[in-house]
Symmetry: C2
Amino acid sequence: MNYKDHRSIRSFLPKEVASNLLTEILTIGTRASNTGNFQSYSVVVTQEQAMKEKLAPFHFNQPMATQAPVLLTFCVDYNRLATWCDARATECGHLNLMGFYNGTLDAMLFAQNVAVAAEENGLGYCFLGTVLYNLEGIIQTLALPRGVMPVLTMALGYPAENPPLRVRLPLEAIVHYEKYTSFPTEKVETLYRDVENDPFYREQVKKAGRENLAQLIMEQQYPSATYEKLSAELTRVLVQQGYTLD
Amino acid sequence: MNYKDHRSIRSFLPKEVASNLLTEILTIGTRASNTGNFQSYSVVVTQEQAMKEKLAPFHFNQPMATQAPVLLTFCVDYNRLATWCDARATECGHLNLMGFYNGTLDAMLFAQNVAVAAEENGLGYCFLGTVLYNLEGIIQTLALPRGVMPVLTMALGYPAENPPLRVRLPLEAIVHYEKYTSFPTEKVETLYRDVENDPFYREQVKKAGRENLAQLIMEQQYPSATYEKLSAELTRVLVQQGYTLD
């Protein structure tokens, strides 16, 4: 398996990830591009079972959060940078929305490079977006100080499953040439046909008793009310972690 | 060259990127993980010279913005999703901070997978963070509609240079085990030694007449006042593009 035909792995063998392998894939991660080469990110490695169990509820007790030998929580980090600036008689002026946003870009390019390196070394992973649902719990459990915001967790280990490739939208849904052209309804119908007809999603829609996949996503899995609550919480936690938002 | 020893390429051969190769690397990009498989991103491809010249000022006329055969502007995109939701009698509830943030994570995992695939195919690239400095100009030039926000541009082509590997912080500056531990000043001094002593950065500091690298970054290259202005502009443009922020 590799990044060209990536499958998310949610079931892992009871086999450790050797520390030199972990070091290697994280080092490769840092080769990704980043803004101004000040690397405004960090990663917290969770390997102790007790820590996984403390984190589990914040990942909604998804089995992979405790079963994976390693959790990697990718963070935007201006704590280290601020200490360095203090030592060099200047001030880290990035504890604001743009700093957080830029740090997020850097953290995600880093995370995806780690992901590619992991698969190239026989490992599998699944990203847990649950971090953004439980920022406060993650921050307290990992003891993240001022300037540090968790963004995304990766559950990492040796795959105990080989799931089929997940369907994606056709490339023409994603790519625009020279200028963006909004798709008319008829075209969108065509673009979403394969996704909507995929047996995996048809089964999900049926199980949930929904009319269609869009309704399943927007009314049950990722609803507006949740997103609005999480937006407010993201704002609150950013301020708590030392970011000035206006 | 590949993702394990990535160098940013800022000078390109006058050689087209074949359209089937571009299609291949973008398709590989879409294999990256994304939230809920609704792929809340898109990419605008710029190949026409006239369009590159229109975009150039918004990339501060950096030569690679017009010299690269291809520019890829990665966007958070809820326009397509909203049209699909309309057609399926539901509402896209993601035009808020959390939707934008989640779309950003997806867009960046996609972008880095494209980056890895590009290098594997003999191409080189440089990310242009200038997008966030000139959102309005990019949006107008690429005709980005409601729900679409540009995030990051990649200048892509065949390398005409082979620059040395850029120094990074030692891994121990980036990685924390089990809990985050803030570095005391003495430790930060050690962690930043290689970066500060690197001839490339020593020369930059000297040229700029600054005392040290931290001051160069925070007082000249990425200053607080700019970040605050850009934070306000990001907020303004999000609202303009249809995002509700509170």
